[in-house]
Assembly symmetry: C2
DNA sequence: CTCATACTCCGAACAGTGTACGGTCTAGTG
DNA sequence: CACTAGACCGTACACTGTTCGGAGTATGAG
């Protein structure tokens, strides 16, 4: 369940950019690729990433499991198609309010994307899916940093850094959200189950940790959200601000030295 | 293959901190927990994360598959044990050369850990494993930021940010490395297989992207490493520097306002 | 010493998974 | 009309994690 990009490169590219060519001979296709991908996304959203099986997907589509393979070479390719498709549903950032707000919007809509489709974090942990929508998003990010007199390499690196951070920091958010929605508890029961067991072990063994805890480092600002979720969200925006600050410094010093 | 922390909390804590209690009655245990965990790590390192099955692990240990369940409640718990164990093999940072170098060392030894054990990135994408070694690492990170007059919440957030970034940016590095070691090619064949297919599609459709490419943004400084790997490494240190810069700014401004 | 008890170990089975194969049937082309 | 490309799919294969029940073993109790 963790693979992507293992499929035939040419075939995948074809599917991503041109879709499925209509067959010349033989019976009509009962389904079309977008519908398959959409149903797969819906299934994965609803039942969790590991619950998306070729059989269950086929059943949801009203066809046999083996028939799926006439549309898609395998599950890996299907996942790539899903990734690119959901990338297309998110809004692209605008440079209207400055590049900083643009980048922030980009990161936050990425976060929204991860939250809407938790399976994104479980698959394809690294390889970029070179689909039209993914690349369009990258292009939009580049557009934001255009005209700032940055070295080309820095532009690519800055955006890669933001992407890496977003993905890494989105994971705890999504996890907290899922734990919440699965158990349905107001507080995180995973945490409350471990806290007493943990306290026992930490006794006097980790001074900085306990000091920080008593200083309230693990408390959270508001409690409109479940505890763990709110903390993950706080941390996401905290780190994002850090990165944007660093970028701002780089840009202005680059400008002044020019 | 992507779950962790689903097991019984109390039992997992026991295993993580106290190990397996020796049985009072019945035949001697043929194996011990550390040996199981170590073999599991070795297997996962060698054959990839998805190749680690309970059956293959049992075979490598010379016992039946079902016997594993007398040592470990399930695969999820085994993975947690593996995570904590490898966390213990990495060196802890020292504050001798300042907290910035300390944090940099921490992030870089985390990266080394991900490179040595690629399966780390595939499992437990979010939930912290509350094992002794993992917590010891966290404690060491806290110690670095101690005495800098930072608000408690900021300390926790800073470290969380670094962790998120490290994980996110380590993923491309590990992926590039694995693609290289699997194919054994000097250059990344995944990339070369897709490049011509990609060029075809990108024609005049993504101006910023093509402009950046011609300006050499996707080239790499040295070529002692495979192309994709070196680029991922460059990006890792680039983003790490960005974050450390931002942290330095925060710390100094906090000091001057005090 | 006896023996029940608690425990390890494991073969077999269960319900899954992704995917390959070969056959059946349909629909457009020469 | 005959032909054949190709959609559709039942079945099978080699896996997966985990459970069950039985067989064997070492220990503590009486």
């Amino acid at each position: 369940m963790e693979y992507a990009g293992r499929g035939d490169a040419a075939r995948t590219m074809m599917l991503l950019w041109d879709g499925l060519p209509a067959p010349q001979r033989g019976p009509r296709q009962r389904l079309d690729l977008p519908r398959i991908v959409d149903t797969a996304i819906a299934e994965a959203d609803r039942a969790g990433p590991s619950a998306l099986s070729m059989r269950s997907l086929a059943q949801a589509l009203g066809i046999g499991a083996a028939s799926l393979y006439t549309y898609v070479p395998g599950k890996a390719e299907l996942l790539e198609l899903m990734v690119d498709r959901v990338a297309g549903t998110q809004s692209l950032p605008s440079a209207a309010n400055g590049w900083q707000t643009g980048l922030r919007d980009l990161a936050e809509s990425d976060l929204a994307n991860y939250r809407a489709h938790p399976w994104l974090l479980q698959i394809a942990t690294s390889r970029t899916v070179f689909g039209p929508n993914v690349i369009a998003r990258y292009e939009a990010a580049l557009a934001l940093l255009d005209g700032l007199d940055l070295p080309a390499l820095d532009i690519a690196n800055h955006i890669a850094t933001l992407d890496s951070y977003t993905r890494g920091a989105a994971a705890p958010v999504v996890e907290a959200e899922q734990a919440f929605s699965h158990t349905g508890n107001t507080d995180d029961e995973w945490w409350t189950a471990r806290a007493p067991l943990l306290d026992e072990r930490l006794n006097n063994r980790f001074p900085h940790l306990t000091a920080l805890a008593t200083r309230g480092a693990f408390t959270v600002s508001s409690t409109t959200q479940p505890y763990t979720l709110q903390r993950a969200l706080d941390r996401f925006t905290h780190g994002l601000s850090l990165l944007l600050d660093a970028l701002t410094t780089r840009v202005t010093t680059a400008k002044t030295t020019t």
